[in-house]
C-alpha cells in the first residue's frame, strides 16, 4: 500500500452509497478492537475439509497401529506378587524417577504442585501482548529456547547419573538429618539447575516473556528427561541400565 488509510476508514468507508450508517463509535475492550479487515476466507468449506482430512488421517493412523500392535494384558492382578519393576503409567513415571533422588513429599507433592501452579499463574506473570502468535516470539526467543533445551538435556541426565552413582541419600545417612539429605539438598540442587539459565537470560536484559520461555523450557525439557529415564532406562529393581544393557526379559515398551 502506498497511501496509509486509517483503520477506521477502512472498516467504515465514508462514501459507499449505503442506505444505512454507523451511528456511534464506542470505546471498548474486545479482541477485534483496533484491527483492520483481516485476510480471511469463508470457513465453509476450507476449515471443514481440513478437519475431515485430519479426522481421516488420525483414525487411519490409530487403525493401522492397532492392527500391528496389541494392547498389553498381563496375568490377573495379584496383590501378593509385586511385579519387577513396578512402574506408574508413562506420564507419571517422571515423578517416579524423581522419587529415586529425593524425599517423597518433595518429589511426589511439592514439585508437581509447583509445576501446576506455575502453569496456572503463567498468563498473570507475563501479560505483555508483544509478538503474540509468533513461534518463540522472536529470533532471540528461538535461540533462548534452543540453548535452554540443550542445557537441560545435558544437566538433568548428568544429575540423574551422578546421584545414581554417588547417592546423596546414602552418602549423608547419619551425617545430617533426613530432611536435609533428602529434602533441602536435592531440592536446592534442582532449584539452582533451574534458576541458572533464568539468571543468565535475566542478566542479558531479558523481558518477562523471555524469562518465561527459559523457565518453561527448563521445566518441560526436564519433564521429558525424567520421563525418558524412568520409562526407558529403569529396569528390574528400578535400577538404572544403560541403553542396550537392559536384561533381555524386560522390555519397557511392553508396559505401555
Amino acid at each position: 500500500m502506498t497511501t496509509q488509510t486509517p483503520v477506521t476508514d477502512e472498516i467504515f468507508p465514508k462514501h459507499t452509497g449505503k442506505t444505512y450508517a454507523l451511528v456511534e463509535l464506542m470505546r471498548g475492550e474486545g479482541p477485534m478492537v483496533g484491527k483492520g479487515p483481516d485476510d480471511t476466507v469463508f470457513s465453509f468449506p476450507v476449515v471443514l475439509l481440513w478437519e475431515a482430512l485430519l479426522l481421516l488421517g488420525v483414525t487411519l493412523t490409530i487403525f493401522v497401529f492397532s492392527l500391528l500392535k496389541q494392547a498389553p494384558l498381563e496375568e490377573i492382578a495379584n496383590p501378593l506378587i509385586t511385579t519387577d519393576p513396578a512402574k506408574a503409567p508413562w506420564y507419571f513415571v517422571g515423578l517416579q524417577e524423581l522419587l529415586e533422588h529425593m524425599h517423597p513429599t518433595l518429589a511426589g507433592v511439592i514439585i508437581p504442585t509447583l509445576l501446576v501452579l506455575f502453569l496456572m499463574a503463567l498468563p498473570y506473570l507475563d501479560h505483555s501482548r508483544a509478538n503474540v502468535g509468533v513461534w518463540f516470539s522472536s529470533a532471540r526467543g528461538r535461540w533462548i529456547v534452543g540453548l535452554t533445551a540443550l542445557y537441560t538435556a545435558i544437566v538433568m541426565p548428568a544429575y540423574i547419573a551422578l546421584d545414581n552413582a554417588f547417592s546423596l541419600r546414602e552418602l549423608l545417612r547419619g551425617v545430617v538429618q533426613q530432611w536435609v539429605a533428602q529434602g533441602l539438598l536435592p531440592g536446592g540442587i534442582l532449584a539452582v539447575l533451574v534458576a541458572l539459565p533464568v539468571l543468565v537470560v535475566w542478566r542479558r536484559k531479558a523481558d518477562t516473556r523471555e524469562l518465561m520461555l527459559t523457565l518453561f523450557t527448563v521445566m518441560f525439557a526436564s519433564a521429558v528427561v525424567f520421563t525418558a529415564s524412568g520409562f526407558l532406562l529403569r529396569g528390574p529393581g528400578f535400577k538404572l541400565y544403560l541403553p542396550g544393557q537392559m536384561p533381555w526379559w524386560y522390555n519397557p515398551w511392553d508396559g505401555l
Partner: protein
C-alpha cells in the same frame, strides 16, 4: 437435466428445508448460514484468517486431541457392552473381549493407543500454545481451562489404566496412588478417598470405573465446549494478532 431438476426439487421440498435452513453453499450468504445454522459447524466462525489456518502454526494439535477424544468415546462405549467392573469378572471379561468378541481385541487396541496418543497430543498442544504466546491477554482464562483439561486428560487415562485388572494395571495404580499418599496431612486421606480403602481393591475398581466412564468424560466434554467457545470469544487463534 433430469438429475439437477431432481436435486432442485429435493432441496426445495418442505422436509429438506425444515432440516437445512440455507441454500446450496456456493455464495457468501449461504456459506455463512451453513456454519451458523448447524450445531456442529457453529463452533467455528463464519470466516477465518488465513494465518490461523497455516499448518506450521498450530500443527492441528487441538483438533487432533478432540478427534482422539471422539475415538475414545466411540471405542469406550463398545468396550462397555462387555466389560464388568468387578474384581472377579473384570479380568475374565478382558479375556472375553480379546478372544471371543468380534473385533474385541482390535477395539481395545484402538482405545488404548488413542488414549496414549491423546495424552501426548494434549501435552504437545500445551507446548504449542505456550511457545506461540497464545496464553497472553485476552486468553488467560482459556489457558487455565486448558491446564485443567490437561489434568482431566491425565485423570481419564490414569483411571482407565486400572480397569483391565492385570498385574500391569494393579501395580501401576498402586505406585501412582502411593505418590499421592506422600503429601503431608492431606495425602493419606486423599488416597483413601480415591481408592475407597487403604489398598487397591473392589472399591477402587468401581470408583475408577465411574470416574472413567461418566464423571471425567462429562467434565472433559463440558470444558472442551467452554474451551472452544472461549477461543472464538477471545478473537480466534492468536495467529490473528500478528
Amino acid at each position: 437435466m433430469a438429475l439437477s431438476s431432481l436435486t432442485t426439487r429435493i432441496s426445495q421440498s418442505g422436509p429438506w428445508r425444515s432440516f437445512f435452513r440455507h441454500g446450496w453453499p456456493d455464495n457468501p450468504l449461504d456459506r455463512s448460514l451453513t456454519m451458523t445454522s448447524n450445531i456442529f459447524f457453529h463452533l467455528h466462525p463464519v470466516k477465518v484468517s488465513r494465518r490461523s489456518l497455516r499448518w506450521s502454526y498450530s500443527f492441528g494439535l487441538g483438533v487432533i486431541s478432540a478427534i482422539l477424544f471422539g475415538v475414545l468415546i466411540w471405542t469406550g462405549v463398545l468396550l462397555m457392552f462387555y466389560y464388568v467392573p468387578s474384581v472377579e469378572r473384570a479380568y475374565p471379561t478382558m479375556k472375553e473381549i480379546q478372544f471371543s468378541v468380534p473385533l474385541g481385541q482390535f477395539t481395545r487396541n484402538m482405545h488404548r493407543w488413542s488414549a496414549h496418543a491423546m495424552v501426548l497430543m494434549v501435552i504437545l498442544h500445551m507446548a504449542r500454545v505456550f511457545y506461540t504466546g497464545a496464553y497472553k491477554p485476552p486468553r488467560e482464562f482459556n489457558w487455565i481451562v486448558g491446564v485443567v483439561l490437561l489434568l482431566l486428560t491425565l485423570g481419564a487415562s490414569f483411571t482407565g489404566y486400572l480397569l483391565p485388572w492385570d498385574q500391569l494395571a494393579y501395580w501401576a495404580i498402586t505406585v501412582g496412588t502411593n505418590i499421592a499418599g506422600y503429601a503431608p496431612v492431606a495425602g493419606p486421606p486423599a488416597r483413601e478417598i480415591l481408592l475407597g480403602g487403604s489398598e487397591v481393591g473392589q472399591n477402587a475398581l468401581i470408583r475408577f470405573y465411574t470416574l472413567h466412564i461418566a464423571v471425567l468424560p462429562l467434565l472433559i466434554t463440558l470444558l472442551v465446549s467452554l474451551h472452544l467457545w472461549r477461543v472464538r470469544k477471545d478473537g480466534g487463534l492468536a495467529a490473528n494478532e500478528t
